[in-house]
Symmetry: C2
Subunit: 489 residues, 2 copies
């Protein structure tokens, strides 16, 4: 506990705190220092698992203002929690309950600073909403391929700070791979202008990638130069029923081989996950999954083609023919229109909501080498059934990236809240131990946040943790940048 | 100067040094601690610009041996220079002249530990020769796309430590983008097993990318898990004469749009560069470039197709038709056979040798946003002509990545050695200042090494340098890992 919070406990706002708030008001304008009213949108996380209390929510409008805010807080020894759209799933952008931390919201910094068509890049501020950037690119007849469920609310700064993944990673990579350069305010309030449209630049340590995925614990990303791509001439979606997870992995290999970089999406869904969609969204027609004896897994494939829809269709048909022969596909349908394609994606995207309708559940965002996923699923499904009879597995995710949302639902008819209360830690231990046994990751695309900081301490090697702590100590010796996030306090 | 080197100066091998050499012999075997005979292959750099003297060349055969060597050197306060194939162009893998540094050669660690076909990865030791890895992948009917001039001698550890580029970056990225995980021996002699076949893993700071490109100054890369790709069904090469650098950039945009990810190579060559090939390798037939009034620039394009050669040819022809209409291509030829394709690539790859035949020259490895390259070239060509009348520019490189080897040759008939002696610093200043003015990089793919450490100090922002120094100090507080490389002593 810092000196400041001790003072607060005994006397409320101290003179020092009051002075800091005055300084912050001078820097960003009084209207952008929020201390009263309902601040829940800033103080509680997306899934409402954490309810914090901030000293203030500060909303700077420029990089210079961010730097000045950071310097003022550093001088006062006050911690900062940077925040974008606050849609994270690992509690990485909300304050703790002490009332001593400043939430620094980047949402006012939402300018697209430049689009460079010949270089296929755009330079954007951290507070830009992801969907707005997709639209900006589209208006320039280009593609910004990052796409994920929260795209209507999340910001590119948040995407960068958590290295967000999503549905196009199999072709375009994570947010990391889409970024060429950053502008960052350091914990000392200095501005590192690392904005760059360069695709090759080997001049010293890779500060860009160190900041990407560091969840605001080493400084604050204020802008970035992101890659753009030509719009594909056509995008086709297919839906296939497969006899096993091993068959799904075989289909992935065939798809890589025959579609090459045309393969822009490869999602897997378990039969139970789809049965929840059928149950709770009866208006959706889910191909092949509604029948008795329905196949155990389904794959949604997307093929993006630089030539034409006709060519994309030919390539898809050739692939599916091979897959039928191989036996890794039982049944398949290729969307006939864009609206059919949207419907298929909509089914996939409805799983989290259907799952919520069914009741509270325990979420996991894990990754395993694709080659080992069939064995992992067989092992862990059986393990959970043995340990918790009747437990239901909502298994779906980005198989093309080895990324599963391997979620656990209470046994049918059971009390879901009670199940979570009594079983969550045990289920997590079973799943994460199995993940570790298969050399996987306990957080594929959602980051660590505060929520999984204990898992990092548990599952990361002491050598890796030592390196991370040394870096944190070197760059943020006061420990004021998003404390407790990633590395435990 | 360290205490040890002071002792050496006065008394030759001290008791401490002798004890260290004995320890090193116990760790790796006496046969693998080289202290006598001709060690030039280890002590002098590829371009023979630096002639060092080592205390010993140590050749460990396993990660455990590397770790033990590092611990022994750390205990003795002796610096280590890690070395792979020693083919670097920036003097980053040879010892200084003090005779106090240990060269740690990784070449005995050359096992392919695993190939995972379903996961499209291979795990390999740092000393594997790049070409051997290309062949290993090919035997598994897969592609390892990293390709560069030194591939017959350079090692993957060296490629990783310098984040090497090469000819396929436009599609597959630099070495960084091809790596999923690393095994590293830290400066304290601990082993970080960060080997991973995961395509998504957001658990803490990105240690992998921090080590990639750090040129052995933060620890020693001993193994890596690298991405593999399906072999393309066909690969076609075309050669186009273009009326200007701006036209070449326009052709790049058209190629991205119409070939999509099929575009796997996009090289530009200036007319003077090709004239040297014609002069010094008369057996090579260089399309369109030999005539009076020949166009100023030429582009070599490669199209990799997951379907068929026929389809690749169709796509190339459609692209070139559009390019003719646009006016950005004056003349073009598509290779009819694999041997013709090899011939075209051979012309491109012969430029450095032709240039050497013409005489000593001043090399630059720069990158600029593709959109700004025409203006940069126009500006800098004119600047150099004005400052050094008659100077000749050998301009070629990976335009698809914004990377030019913008090399400067003495005026015709002049004394090249004298030109270098009197003009090299001036030419470098003119070129690098221009690069900085166009927000480019003074080292696109060759790294910093010792050779360009002064350029890093000059052209990098103080904030970036401060961050780099803090990281170096945090991870290597004794300063024993490749001292003077990247960051000046």
């Amino acid at each position: 506990m810092s000196v400041l919070s001790l003072c607060l406990t005994s006397t409320g706002l101290t003179a020092m705190t009051t002075a800091l708030l005055d300084t912050l008001r001078r820097i960003v304008g009084a209207a952008h220092v929020l201390t009263e009213g309902d601040l829940a949108a800033y103080e509680q996380d997306w899934r409402k698992r954490s309810h914090g209390k901030s000293l203030a929510v500060v909303r700077p409008g420029s990089t210079a203002e961010v730097a000045a805010v950071v310097r003022a807080c550093a001088d006062a020894g006050v911690a900062i929690v940077p925040q974008g759209g606050n849609t994270g799933l690992s509690v990485g952008s909300t304050p703790d309950g002490s009332g001593t931390q400043v939430v620094l919201s980047l949402t006012r910094m939402n300018a697209v600073r430049a689009i460079d068509r010949d270089n296929l890049t755009m330079t954007v501020e951290a507070g830009c909403i992801l969907q707005a950037l997709q639209e900006t690119a589209e208006k320039a007849d280009l593609l910004f391929p990052l796409s994920l469920a929260a795209e209507g609310s999340c910001t590119i700064g948040g995407n960068l700070s958590t290295n967000a993944g999503g549905t196009q990673v199999v072709r375009y990579g994570n947010t990391r791979e889409l970024c060429l350069g950053l502008e960052v305010v350091t914990p000392q309030g200095e501005v590192w202008n690392g904005l760059s449209g360069l695709r090759k630049d080997n001049t010293g340590y890779d500060l860009r990638d160190l900041y990407i995925g560091s969840e605001g614990t080493l400084g604050i990303i204020t802008a970035a130069t992101m890659k753009l791509f030509p719009q594909p001439a056509a995008q086709l979606t297919a839906w296939a029923a497969v006899p096993s997870m091993a068959a799904a992995v075989r289909l992935l290999g065939l798809s890589h081989q025959h579609l090459g970089a045309g393969l822009t999406g490869f999602e897997v869904m378990g039969q139970f996950a789809l049965s929840l969609v059928i149950k709770h969204m009866p208006q959706l027609r889910v191909p092949f999954a509604g029948l008795d004896g329905a196949p155990p897994y389904y794959v949604l494939l997307e093929n993006s083609d630089s030539e034409s829809e006709e060519h994309a269709r030919q390539r898809f048909e050739a692939l599916l023919e091979l897959a039928f022969e191989d036996g890794c596909v039982l049944d398949a349908v290729v969307a006939e229109s864009l609206s059919q394609a949207h419907e298929l994606w909509h089914i996939r995207e409805s799983i989290p909501l259907a799952q919520a309708e069914e009741g509270l559940n325990i979420k996991h965002d894990i990754s395993i080498a694709a080659s080992r996923i069939p064995a992992f699923v067989e092992h862990t499904d059986a393990l959970l059934q043995r340990e918790i009879p009747g437990v239901r597995l909502v298994n779906f995710g980005h198989l093309g990236d080895g990324n599963l949302h391997y979620n656990v639902q209470a046994p049918a008819g059971g009390d879901a809240r009670e199940f979570l209360r009594t079983q969550e830690d045990r289920v997590n231990a079973l799943v994460y131990d199995a993940v570790a046994q298969f050399d996987g990751s306990f957080s594929a695309e959602h980051g660590v946040g505060v929520l999984k900081a204990d898992k990092l301490a548990q599952y990361k090697s002491p050598v890796a943790l030592g390196l991370m702590r040394a870096i944190k100590q070197a760059l943020d010796p006061q420990g004021l940048m998003n404390p407790g996030c990633i590395l435990q306090k």
